[in-house]
Point group: none
Chain length 193, copies 4
DNA sequence: CTCTAATCGAGACGGTACGTCGCGTCTTACG
DNA sequence: CGTAAGACGCGACGTACCGTCTCGATTAGAG
């Protein structure tokens, strides 16, 4: 029989329950991260908070780190997408301001992303994004290996944001952006020039 | 009753078996770290490798992280002790060279310390040491909070060393030292000036 | 009320698909039983082998044991129906021969019915059938309670058949029938006399 | 110095905790069997009833069936040990009386052993014991294979006991013994003669 | 050299979390 | 509208480590 070709296998998952479950799990994890470290969180915590069956977790993510990475990559992609145009315009300070502003607006989430033992995963996502950026504007540098430059820039950025948000009374985003630009981004870009 | 009180606690006189057990445990951990992440290592692995009873571990360390910290702080103290005189002499490049040379000479150990999921602990030890240094030479800085400066310097240093040692063919220590000095230490010191 | 649609339900007129699905499920179970115990078989195995949707199983049977019982009772009824006339003629040996012959002809199936952890269900079906027989020819017996007699006769019969079929080189059906008659049926009948 | 030679490596397990745990588990299982089938019992039920950690179960038995077998074999061995001398003296009725008396005295336990879906395991143990007996008194038989004879005798015995104990008002042990002897044991022995 | 207490090995134990499996129900989208 | 495909809630499974504990057997060093 010819026919049925159309439907039977749609490449991507179509069942709406799948999307819903994943959404619930991500939300639950964010909530829990406000109170505990990722490694203090147990899978049952997540499924309970998401009001989802225990096994359902494994139907979507192999580990809690995978769920975390999903979360992190979405956030990182979003912030990069916002800052990138400015970078393209070579206006690094403006890019930093955009970044810091966004982070500050979502400071509750970002604080947990950066300080709850999750920073490793966030850093990995930033690195991924930074490498993509770098390839588009590859500039050779005599004395500083590109990969090292990226690593340092990313790690400093993350470290700075983490420090900033963990302050009892964080400085204004504008100032954080200035520091970030002056101490990390501008040197990095000028090196690359 | 006075008893043989004398025996019980001479603060620094310890049963030689104690020292021996701890040594065995540290050695065992170092060995294991060459093959696995700290969190892949379980306590039984350590005690087996050390050829020591399982409970003996807990007689000396509450967790494997404590053992790791013991290890890390010894190493960090040693390398700081070597580099510090140079720093005092304001010869930062020379301090960097000393640091990199030492690390390179013990690269097998340091590679595992910096890359086997242990970097967080090492960084903590470096921070501890760096803060001590900083207090001795406290300089005010208008635009860069001291604590942030330290944090960034330490994290960049650790990141750089980790990157360096994880290369298939690491560049010579002298070059690593130059980069370290130029990109991390010199800016940090000049800021502080 | 005559119901609205003609379609719905004439008690014995069943949707032909129903019969088909059940048939497929029974066939599938028989096939699977050649390789595994009933309790090693899971419902997904059956539906996969029957090339039927998973939920379809539950539209016809509440558990795999129910399916098994369905299977077993059909077989037992058949064999009883064949042997019974002989029993009525008091020709017990002949009845045994009929039984053993039938079983031997379907030995692949019966072997699995008797040895794959299914014997309990088969025995239950035999008991059911045997009790029906017994009521038609109820004879009192001074020292042996009737129910016990039936139980022993059935269990010995099943045990004997199971042993027989599980032999690497089973003896001929005629001999099995003789043993069965001599050791189980004849004594049972004479007791009842 | 001979030392306390006795201790260091005794081939069998010496730790008293082991014996205690196993005892607790067996006791717990017996208790639970009075209320549920073996397969309705879940390992957590056993460990809870035994007031023992869940994992402790697996330190001693791989499955609940293994625990059950342990229990069963102990009982079977005991009863066989009591009846065997009589059998040796060819006094089969007396052996049956001994058996039935013992079983009746422990009827609560035996009822569960024989009717709670455990009979298969008990039968297996009886078979084991019966085969041992049989080898010591191996007699050839022209028309009845020895293994089949044993199988039938054991299964009938078990079936009879199960029927007996499951009666609302069980007949006296003496009468059960007579039936057992007359219908199972005596024929079996005379066959073997 | 003896005696006593600290330390040790061995490993059982009560727990918690894991990741898997199968059940039986319920949902979805297609034909 | 019925059915395949399969997601879901549930709960038992058996495993892995954890950190605590009990045991004797060594061993160190004070008397």
């Amino acid at each position: 029989m010819k026919k049925k070709t159309s439907k039977t296998k749609n490449p991507e998952v179509t069942d709406p329950r799948v999307g819903r479950s994943r959404e619930l799990l991500r939300k639950a994890l964010v909530t829990l991260l406000e109170k505990k470290t990722l490694e203090q969180i147990v899978i049952r915590d997540i499924t309970d908070a998401a009001r989802v069956g225990y096994a359902t977790f494994y139907r979507h993510y192999p580990t809690k780190e995978a769920l975390m990475t999903d979360l992190a990559s979405k956030e990182v992609d979003r912030v990069i997408a916002m800052a990138q145009p400015k970078t393209d315009a070579a206006d690094t300070l403006s890019a930093c301001v955009t970044l810091c502003t966004y982070v500050h607006e979502h400071r509750v989430l970002w604080k947990t992303l950066l300080t709850r033992g999750v920073d490793t995963l966030i850093k990995k996502e930033f690195l991924r994004a930074a490498r993509e950026l770098a390839t588009t504007r590859a500039k050779s540098n005599h004395w500083l290996p590109a990969e090292l430059g990226i690593t340092l820039a990313v790690s400093s950025t993350v470290e700075l944001l983490a420090w900033w948000l963990s302050q009892a009374k964080p400085m204004p985003g504008k100032r954080a952006a200035e520091i970030l630009n002056r101490i990390v981004i501008a040197p990095a870009v000028s090196q690359a020039a």
